[in-house]
Structures are given as C-alpha cells and as structure tokens.
C-alpha cells in the first residue's frame, strides 16, 4: 500500500483537506506528521506540505517552518527521490528551505486573492502532472497573499528551458514572474504550486481538475 505523510505546522490549515484528498483518491495510508518530529515514517511514497499560515507568516511566509526539525528529514527524503508536493504555504516553505528556486513575494496588487483561477498545464511529463495534457487549461482555486513568484531572469530562463514550469496562470493573478504558478526541482520529484488541487477533487466543490493531479501521481508511483 502506498504511504503518504502530510506535514503539519502551527498555523497550517489545509492539512486535513490534503490528507483527505490523498487518502480518498490514492488510498494511501496517510499520516499527519507534526513539525517537531525529527524523523518521518519509513517507506513514504509521498510527502505533502500543506497550505496555511505557518507561524503566522512571521518574518516571511514559510521562513520559520522551513527551519523546523522535520524539514531536515523532508530535505533528505527529497534528495532520495521521494515525491514532495508543496501547495500554497507549502510552496513558500519549499522555496525557503531551498528545495525549490525563487521566492514568493507579496501579491503585486497588495490584496489577498481568493478565487478559482484558470491555469495552463505547461509540462504533463512529470509524475505530478501526467493526469493532464500539455497546454490544457484547468481551473483550481487560489487563496494567498504572497504568491508573486520571483526569480532572476537567468533562473527563469533555466526553469523554462528545462521544462520545470508545471503550471502558469492563464490570467493575471498576483504579478508572478512569467505567470508562473508552479515549478519543479531539477530532479522533477518536488513540485511547489500556489493553487490548491486538494480543494477541487469532486463536483461538489465546483470541479474536479485538482483530482487528476493525485490520480496521475498514484499511477506514476504505483
């Protein structure tokens, strides 16, 4: 059976949604792991860093959480090739931890953005996006204040050249460089994205475009 862990920080608020999505869609034995743990459960097939406002966004969004004890174990697992999915605050934490390039800055329009947005799937060849077609337009909600992706031009060129842009916003959302909504690490086993796929997994929620991310993931992992 597939095994997954969702990391929980003080101030996480999408941890249960993420665990439910993973459990329901993939059937994985999914545990919630408190950030003070220095070790992760053994034999994990997936680690998810959920959304929320870890540590009240003190210092910078994700900055404190990225230095939590459990993150050393997450970094080690990512290095061994374990898939790591960071959503929203999880994306911020992964950039702060150095697992993903760039930084998530305050939205260019200053305001918190909370709505369903159109995304273009840029790369469907990854373990996270194989449930989509390249160039496909999907709809997934965002809810963030700091989603404005920034990296220097050389880094952005490299990300694009290496197929490491997973999703782009199909409309202006937060001022992100080159409309980037999600990126992979160089090995392709770490994905950070601002939109919340776990909030779009069944019709009741207004759509199920997020569901295919998890469906694709389980096919790739199995």
């Amino acid at each position: 059976m597939m095994r997954a862990a969702v990391i929980q920080f003080p101030g996480s608020n999408c941890d249960r949604d993420m665990a439910v999505a993973i459990r329901d869609i993939t059937g994985a034995d999914t545990s919630i792991v408190w950030h003070r743990e220095s070790a992760l459960p053994t034999g994990l097939d997936l680690i998810a860093i959920p959304g929320g406002f870890s540590y009240g966004d003190y210092l910078r969004s994700g900055a404190m959480a990225a230095r939590s004890p459990v993150m050393q174990a997450v970094i080690a697992a990512a290095g061994r090739g374990v898939p790591v999915l960071g959503v929203c605050n999880g994306f911020q934490i992964l950039t702060e931890a150095g697992l993903l390039p760039g930084a998530l800055m305050r939205n260019a329009g200053i305001r918190f953005v909370c709505r369903t947005v159109g995304l273009t799937v840029e790369n469907s060849q990854s373990m996270f996006t194989s449930g989509y077609a390249a160039g496909e337009k999907i709809h997934i909600p965002v809810a963030h204040h700091d989603g404005n992706f920034f990296a220097d031009d050389a880094t952005l060129d490299r990300l694009e050249g290496e197929g490491r842009v997973a999703f782009r916003y199909a409309e202006p959302v937060n001022g992100s460089a080159r409309n980037i909504a999600g990126v992979f690490n160089d090995a392709g086993n770490v994905l950070g994205m601002m939109p919340h796929p776990e909030r779009m997994i069944e019709a009741m929620q207004g759509g199920s475009d997020g569901r295919r991310l998890f469906e694709g993931l389980i096919r790739e992992i199995a």
């Binding site: 210092l59 910078r60 900055a63 230095r67 950039t95 702060e96 390039p101 760039g102 930084a103 800055m105 305050r106 939205n107 260019a108 329009g109 200053i110 404005n148 920034f150 990296a151 001022g175």
Partner: protein, 76 residues
C-alpha cells in the same frame, strides 16, 4: 550588547508594500516623494563575544532571504 540588522529588498525587486505606502503618503497631501521601499529592522541583544561571522550566518540562514533581500549589520 545590541546589534541592528537591516533587511531590505534588492534593487530591481518590485515592492508592492512600498508602493502602497507611497500612495498613502501622497494621499495625506505630502508631495515630492519619488519612491518608497519598505524593509525590516531586527534588533539583537547578545553577548559581546558573538562574532560578526555568526551574525552574518544568522542573516543568510534565516533573517534575510538572499533570493530577494540584502542585509546590513550595524553594531552599536
């Protein structure tokens, strides 16, 4: 002993917060302000023996995000 650490956005990094402050200043009727950039001041009380290298290391490991920010260390 006290050290002050100033964390500021790098040149060229857009600062929406600074822009909003600039707007608010103009809204109060002040004119002649060209640009506003917001940063962060962190004051650290510490033993006199704490080395500059340790302070720099605190900055690069936590206090500043070197992708977007610079820091300056001011020792009293």
């Amino acid at each position: 002993m006290k050290t002050r650490i100033f964390v500021t956005l790098k040149n060229g990094v857009l600062d929406p917060q600074g822009k909003a402050i600039h707007h608010a200043i103009e809204g109060l009727g002040f004119s002649g302000v060209h640009d506003v950039r917001a940063g962060r001041l962190i004051e650290i009380e510490h033993e006199p023996g704490l080395s500059k290298a340790d302070l720099e290391s605190m900055c690069t490991k936590l206090l500043a995000n070197m992708v977007i920010e610079n820091f300056e260390i001011e020792q009293a």
